[in-house]
Symmetry: C2
Subunit: 561 residues, 2 copies
Amino acid sequence: MKPIANLLDASLARDVLYFLPLGGSGEIGMNFNLYGLNDQWIAVDVGITFADDTTPPGIEIITPDPSALKQLGDRLIAIIITHAHEDHVGALGYLWPKLKAPVYCTGFTASVAERKLGEAGLLDQVALHRVHPGDRRAFGPFWVEWISLTHSIPESHALCIEAAGLRVVHTGDWKLDPHPVEGVHYDDRRLMALGETGVDVVIGDSTNATVEGWSGSEAECHRGLLDVIAKETNRVCVTCFSSNTARLASLGRIAQETGRRITILGRSLFQYVATAKANGYLRDFPELVPPEDLDYLPKSEQLILATGSQGEARAAMARLARGEHHSLVLEADDCVVFSSKVIPGNEKKLFRLYDLLSAKRVHVVTEADALVHVSGHPCRDELAWMYRALQPTTVIPVHGEGRHMTAHAELARGLGCTALTVQNGDLVSLSGTTPTIKAKIASGRLGLSGSSLVPLSDRALSERRALALGGVISVTVILDKKSRLVGRAQIELMGVPSGELGVDALKSELAFAVEEIISELSSRVLQSDDAIRETIQRELGHSIHQWMGVRPRQLVQVIRI
Amino acid sequence: MKPIANLLDASLARDVLYFLPLGGSGEIGMNFNLYGLNDQWIAVDVGITFADDTTPPGIEIITPDPSALKQLGDRLIAIIITHAHEDHVGALGYLWPKLKAPVYCTGFTASVAERKLGEAGLLDQVALHRVHPGDRRAFGPFWVEWISLTHSIPESHALCIEAAGLRVVHTGDWKLDPHPVEGVHYDDRRLMALGETGVDVVIGDSTNATVEGWSGSEAECHRGLLDVIAKETNRVCVTCFSSNTARLASLGRIAQETGRRITILGRSLFQYVATAKANGYLRDFPELVPPEDLDYLPKSEQLILATGSQGEARAAMARLARGEHHSLVLEADDCVVFSSKVIPGNEKKLFRLYDLLSAKRVHVVTEADALVHVSGHPCRDELAWMYRALQPTTVIPVHGEGRHMTAHAELARGLGCTALTVQNGDLVSLSGTTPTIKAKIASGRLGLSGSSLVPLSDRALSERRALALGGVISVTVILDKKSRLVGRAQIELMGVPSGELGVDALKSELAFAVEEIISELSSRVLQSDDAIRETIQRELGHSIHQWMGVRPRQLVQVIRI
């Protein structure tokens, strides 16, 4: 069944509340969800995701494809951002010009959104509204309430969305952290109150639905980090997500507790520390020692915070590991703490960093060695707490890969809820006795290629893979008015190993092969440039595969003079 | 310091025993080690490794680069294979023509080596000698003894190499499995006897040197698999390494214990079962049910063994997960057991399989859920046992990435040994009071590109990356005798997204830009094809980057008529 290209072409019923995930269901990343009622829509989160091994070459950043919303116009009345992680707000700068609706979020998130919009040159066009935790606002037929939850960034919110007589809790990203170190407590009172007065649907975070128990508290992580760092007698360098303000606050306190001073390496850490302070967080964070003053500080008093916990090649941590950082050279008996999880797909990159560091006899501590990281997402006992508190009729797992959403659905069913698993593009009616998928709407992914967003299904991107696998040969033949070859066939190669033969000899062999092919063309074929091109591609391709076992792409130009 | 390109150019002293790793040190894969004394050399293992995220596109199989041995000729007197894993024997077919020495190994390994040589069309050229466990043979000045060890394949051997008054134990891959299910016990008596009479150097497996405890036994794994499979009431499908004969033997017994019958899906499983049987293993393995007869067997009596435990796209397991296997469709409440570890780098590929399976409501069991896999490599307590038994003066860790070799060296030092860490290309003198690195010999990697082996440093391979990142544009301009443009500039594109403009319009824009560039060339530049080419590349490249933010490669052809 071909998905409906334009949302407005779906037969949308009156007074029915619709939910439409266009990103973040079946994946962890690029969250983009819509709610609609009587021709008015709100979007919840506009995130990016990052390339993985399935992404075409040359693409690093991926956004949801909002093409199905093209006709919405001012029917899209609000974009609401639950919290400031990249997979929830990161695509705002890229997609806002296609969405053009006012944006609503709380202060910390707004600071990050503002940065994104500024980088895209959109600040003067976008109405960015700051709301407060606990606020309840009307957007057309929707009432939306911001409910504080704990997570791994300040100001993560569930949204209680009321419309068409239904109450939907869209959880955003959350955990139950009894001691969140920074920011407010999760609003358990409000959640329980909602449960008492009735919740129809919860649409929520599946990330850790396969993990037993609780995710743990930032306060425990503080103690774990303190244990590790207190034992070290040389320099200690910690890398974590820059947006994890609680973790930074813990490290600030640990610096004081262990007689160390903090130096920051890496731009995104500076940015997030500034954002946090501007929003009232990190009040006790110590004065920084600038990188250029590190030499004046005994190693035992140094605590370095570095960007790049996922092994990103250009970030501070990878530079330190490679010995290429201009401010600091790590030495034997220094310690590096990865206060972070390994995001699947980054394992080899990180193992290479561990190897480089251990070759320098630097002590490497990861979450496998000590309690130096806690997850920001709810494990099974936290999910169970939530469903006991909210008592929803139906749970719709989102924010997870297939196995996470399946486990989440099973857990919800075990607690007596109905569960519906969805994929991006599923148009779900939330009204009626039980939510049901009514149609498939076009969804997809756009890749940032240079300065433009290109569908990942664009033919040019799959051509890149073919170019990568076998290289490319360009062949130019010039024919005169009688379709006779003028001069030699011209060959250029790129990405085709010539082995012991050498490039020039290979080019000459290929030119000879092309000339042979042309000499045997019938006069009928010679009349058509396309026929000549196809024959060369087929026959030359066959010869090359026989000689060398490879299949380079061919660009054949037939020029008549 | 530039490595010495030809081993014979190193100043090699008389009566000194040399060790030269050319593959497998600093990595897990492509083991290739040499021992030399008085101008005679033996090679131990000739393995491949597989592409990872650092490998140029289009390369899947990688071998060590034996260029430094080119001049050895008949100074290379033997190739000894310790066991039949791909990283120890897999490159024999590719590299033998460059090495041309007789090959020595025990029966099971010889069967696998024979297959490799057959596939390379070399069977009639290679002298392949079968030895027996416990044999002690002279190769020139070397005595080599085969000592049985347990591992995850039958017939894994340590080699005791005696030469120049030294005794070196080259461990190969091993573990201490008290109940190996198939194959012989590890020869602890012989190891202890060697220890009593003195071992100078151990060169050994570092894979699990960061893992505490013991690797566990195949017998425990049998019990773990039985527990899982006995509970299932529908079809069970197990994937594991095809070469793990003990695991296959366990599964054969479990089939009998649970009233199931075995069906094999995937060519390499058939091959290894045949190889095992031909060498006296799997004697009690049950009769197979052919895939086409599965329909006649109740699901509760089916036990399917499938290839592809690492999520290889073309193997049986991935096809089953995608629902594309021609013999079998998995259904809700079937169970899939991954009786294998996740090799680093394969995480995302495997997680995608788990997602596909859980979407079908198939139960997925991995080593994270139950004891369905044990490693074939020694953990820290096994390493300690070995060094207490052998009491070597020096330990040289190999077969590991940096962190594994570092941990192995530290463990050995903790047991009172000297430890020397080496990298591929380090020429080590084992004679004298303590082994020392004497020179750096050229080492490297060859990638199988089509039918030829190409150095991974080949420029054509790095061009493939550039092609992948930005695509390619070919530009052809024809100039007449007065260096005036004849006709239009010809443009072809590949891998360059044209976005909303469309391909034809983009080509036309680019042709126009090229014509503009040419119209402004000075008469001096117009005299040189190279100067014209460079100017077009520079200026057109600049324009494209400004317009689209991408940097395609350019193939520019200047033709004069």
